[in-house]
Amino acid sequence: MAGKTIVEFKNVVKIYGLGDGEQIAANHVNFTIDEGEFVVILGQSGAGKSTVLNMLGGMDTPTSGTVTIDGMEVSKMNDNELSDYRAKTIGFIFQFYNLLPSLTAYENVALTKNIVKDTLDPLELLRSVGLEEHKDKFPSQMSGGEQQRVSIARALAKNPKIVLGDEPTGALDSKTGVIVLELLQKMCKEQKKTVILVTHNADIAQCADKVIRMKNAKIKEIKINDNPVPVKEVAW
């Protein structure tokens, strides 16, 4: 089922601070991710997983090494190029949803029209995440799970190749968390999206095609799951 390589980290090093305050957040990180894979980056806090995600998302650049995504060398882009890269290639899902409070659910999804030309129909997307009836609600009027589903719809609206999630279930109870994860897994399989999640929750890793385990800024293990467990069967 694996397609062509879409993400490649080659000897990536990220160092924060200077001199004595120097802190290595990524120490010679190497891995690849194929198109259509459901990947979980697993690790305790401080393991370097968020640093990797940030570089994936073009929110941060490596100190050395190269990050190549969909044939583009992200590590060499400037501010505007990075913005365009984020706009076209990446869909983000945050732990705390980060919907724009002054826009309704529908408008939050439709917002993507201001970023890229070809967007998917916001209403259709809201329907697919089961929130069609809530389209006119503001974020403050929705539950956490509902807000996260809007956020998924928003991430998909740009029709990105890669969906990145930073602890997307971290702020949700397990029941809502399952719904959100199912949605992500379904989307990965049906729409052939590459989904990359960062989490410290080892249970979630069971559902992934590939698990990248990090510790002390290094990759400790890369495991391919030949038979990922359906989300429903996972309990946490």
Binding site: S50, N54, G57, M59, D60, D79, N80, S83, D84, Y85, R86, A87, K88, I90, F92, F94, Q95, F96, N98, L99, L100, P101, S102, L103, T104, E107, L111, T112, K113, N114, I115, V116, F138, P139, S140, Q141, R154, K158
Partner: protein, 766 residues
């Protein structure tokens, strides 16, 4: 420990806290400056007036008798009363300076204040007492001889004392545009020391009383004098007292206005700074709370920032304002006004204002972070929940759906943050108002110059006459030169006959020949001519008395008792002359003698004062224009002050609004950025809102510029009638500049948007 945290954070937010320091410092310092000078002035004035036994009432007439005096003294409410003769003459050796002469037989009321020399002695017929400032200017010492001339009589006496008088706290020679102590003096002398005593009646009767409303005594006084007097006034109408009092009042107003303005900006700064700081320290607050720190202690901690900074500002302001700026102000103004012993003073109000500034700053600090401090510790440890979004009023607009994303987004944001929007609009409106006032000051001055020299003063040369000019001397001039005689004097006017003192107005009269050299303009500055048997009245006078064209007014010459009536033909306007104006033929019909005070002509008459002793001075229009321009230089200072305020105000306000806006929405901007919005687009979102608010502010502020300027001109007093003129260019330039400031401020944020740390912001970390 918390104190350490506070000082470190003040250091890391130095810019914000320094501006708070500066603003609280300025608020208190300027208050103390004006108040210190005023408090000192009031104290010195009170002592001065008491020592001189300053009169409460002045009666002017053609001649008072000792019998009149007795009758007044016998009135129940009168404490002391005295007669005196007041003349105006010229010095003999000191360049024809204007000399106000007081001849008296006793010295009970309005006693001269002795600066140097011996006490004023009414039995010493060989000496006179001369005003100290004049003596200083001309190097006259006690024992020197001093001569003056009145009506052809030269009086030469020895100077026995140098004096000051409350009636001349402010003094300016009639011919001068500005205070020049070289050109004016007053002299006290024994009545019997004046060589000619026939036809030298007592022209003034002055008295003291304990009655508060002095003018209410008029009926009784009038009965006691058998209505034989011309004018009755109290202290508020004495020119020499009034000008200083008006000035002090203006300073009093300034002290409050400056304090309020600076305090208001300080509050804005506190609101934005504290709000941002507390929002950023959410988790810290939660942690402190979770650690078991009392909420009260946390609140006090956050109030401490503003308290400490504003306290330091207020204390330094108090010291600097009172002892440095206040002293400087006293030094400057004691050069214009004569009040012996005027030093800086202070009173409890200084401390109260400083206290209020600190209190308000601290309280604002509390109010602006109160909401954030209320949250539960557990919630505090998590990032803030989204602010409630709701439908805004703008969505009812029929074209709402046609609006672009930026507009919709910003409109919703504005309706969510009304206070911030209001501050933005208000700040720019104030800036616009000041900016227009500043620019329009120049336009007004240009207009006044043109108005004065092209419509009002239509002559190339003028000639001033001394008081002693005869009809023959005037006739001689008329034979040689082509021009126009003008007579100026003092009158009292009223709307009805037998008006009481408080219904009468003291003003000037201009009697002209209607040849056009002396121009009259109406309220629109258009040149008009005066028809025979009508008079013109200045618009400010007409307004205060409620007079319209066609009304009849009543007037009499200031020191004569007989009243006349006249029909108003024109409401006139002149920036520097407040008067009634009439034609010579109408004036002469009243039976009064026409005694010109000036002659206006296009012929070169410079130097003629050497040939005709009735001529005291001649000027060319070049000299007049130069004097006029020097006098107007004061205005340039006003323009500069306006401009500084006008630029600083929108910068401070818009920057702080932008800051507040940026910090409130930083999470949204980070989200947009992560989603792929370019920095430029986000900046557009932020600047667009700033620009809208500024544009509204500019539109609201525009009409107030003219109002403010007119108000400032009107605060100069009733004798001036400047007309604020704002040109279209003033509006356009001011608007463009204010908007430019707004755009510039927006650009100050573009770097912050570019460097926005999306990761940190979205993680809700500190």
């Amino acid at each position: 420990m918390l104190t350490k945290k506070m000082f470190r954070e003040i250091k890391s937010n130095f810019g914000q806290f320094f501006s708070l320091f500066l603003l609280s410092f300025l608020a208190v310092a300027l208050f103390a400056t004006f108040k210190a000078s005023n408090a000192g002035a009031y104290k010195a004035i009170e002592k001065f007036h008491k020592e001189c036994n300053l009169a409460d009432g002045w009666l002017y007439g053609e001649g008072f008798t000792t019998e009149n005096l007795e009758n007044i003294r016998n009135l129940e409410d009168i404490n002391e009363a005295q007669l005196r003769t007041h003349l105006t003459g010229n010095s003999v050796e000191q360049g024809n300076a204007q000399i106000e002469i007081y001849l008296q037989e006793e010295s009970v009321v309005n006693k001269p204040y002795i600066v140097k020399g011996k006490e004023f002695d009414v039995s010493d017929t060989d000496s006179l007492w001369l005003s100290e400032k004049f003596a200083e200017e001309w190097d006259l010492e006690i024992g020197d001889a001093f001569a003056y001339e009145y009506n052809g009589v030269v009086v030469n006496k020895k100077i026995a004392g140098l004096i000051a008088s409350p009636e001349y706290e402010y003094m300016c020679a009639d011919e001068d545009l500005d205070v020049d102590f070289k050109n004016i003096a007053y002299v006290y002398m024994a009545y019997s020391g004046f060589p000619v005593r026939e036809l030298m009646p007592y022209t003034e009767l002055i008295f003291t009383t304990d009655v508060k409303n002095v003018l209410s005594l008029e009926d009784k006084l009038s009965d006691a004098l058998d209505e034989n007097y011309a004018v009755f006034i109290d202290q508020s109408s004495v020119y020499g007292l009034k000008i200083l009092r008006d000035e002090l009042n203006q300073h009093e107003q300034f002290s409050y206005i400056f304090t309020i303005v600076f305090l208001a900006i300080a509050l804005l700064v506190i609101m934005t700074t504290m709000n941002r700081m507390v929002a950023a320290q959410r988790t810290q607050i939660g942690t402190m709370n979770a650690m078991g720190m009392k909420r009260r202690k946390i609140k006090l901690h956050y109030m401490g920032y503003s308290f400490v900074v504003s306290l330091i500002g207020a204390i330094l302001g108090l010291i600097f304002g009172t002892f440095c700026l206040g002293k400087y102000l006293v030094d400057v103004f004691s050069g214009f006004y004569i009040v012996p012993g005027w030093k800086t003073g202070y009173n409890i109000s200084f401390i109260i204002v400083a206290f209020i500034v600190v209190l308000v700053c601290t309280l604002t600090s509390y109010l602006s972070c109160r909401k954030l401090l209320k949250v539960n510790p557990s919630e505090c440890l998590r990032p803030a929940p989204p602010k409630a979004g709701k439908r805004c009023i703008f969505e009812k607009l029929p074209f709402w759906n046609q609006l672009g994303f930026y507009s919709q987004y910003n409109l919703r944001d504005i309706s969510r943050a009304k206070l911030r929007a209001f501050m933005g609009v208000f700040g720019t409106a104030c800036g616009m108002m000041l900016m227009i006032s500043g620019f329009a000051c120049n336009t007004t001055l240009d207009n006044m110059y043109e108005w004065t020299f092209e419509r009002l003063q239509n002559y190339k040369y003028d000639m001033q006459f001394s008081d002693s000019i005869t009809t023959e001397q005037a006739g001689e001039i008329a034979e040689i030169y082509e021009g126009e005689f003008v007579m100026m004097g003092s009158v009292e006017i009223a709307k009805k006959e037998h008006a009481l003192s408080n219904q009468k107005k003291t003003t000037s009269i201009v009697v002209m020949e209607g040849k056009g050299y002396y121009g009259i303009t109406n309220v629109k500055q258009e040149v008009v001519s005066l028809k025979p048997e009508t008079i013109a009245i200045s618009s400010k006078l007409a307004k205060s008395l409620g007079i319209k064209v066609g009304d009849t007014i009543y007037w009499h010459i200031y020191d004569k008792n007989e009243w006349y009536s006249a029909k108003v033909g024109v409401i006139s306007r002149n920036p520097t002359v407040s008067a009634i104006t009439m034609l010579r033929e109408d004036f002469e019909k009243t039976g009064n003698k026409y005694k010109p005070t000036a002659f206006y002509t296009d012929e070169d008459i410079v130097g003629y004062e050497k040939e005709n002793e009735a001529v005291s001075a001649t000027h060319s229009s070049k000299e007049i224009k130069e004097a006029y321009e020097t006098n107007m230089e004061v205005m340039n200072l006003m323009v500069i002050i306006f401009m500084i305020f006008a630029t600083v105000m929108p910068v401070v306000v818009l920057y702080n609004c932008g800051n507040l806006s940026f910090n409130e929405r930083v999470k949204e901007f980070a989200t947009l950025k992560v989603m792929g919005f370019r920095s430029g687009k986000i900046r557009k979102l932020l600047s667009l809102q700033n620009l809208w608010l500024s544009l509204i502010g500019v539109l609201i502020g525009a009409p107030f510029g003219k109002i403010l300027l007119q108000y400032m001109f009107d605060s100069n007093g009733d004798s001036y009638d400047y007309m604020a003129v704002v040109s279209v260019a003033d509006y356009l330039i001011s608007g463009a500049l204010v908007l430019a400031v707004s755009v510039l401020v927006s650009f100050m944020f573009s770097k912050r948007i570019k460097n926005l740390d999306m990761v940190e912001v979205l993680k809700g970390m500190e």
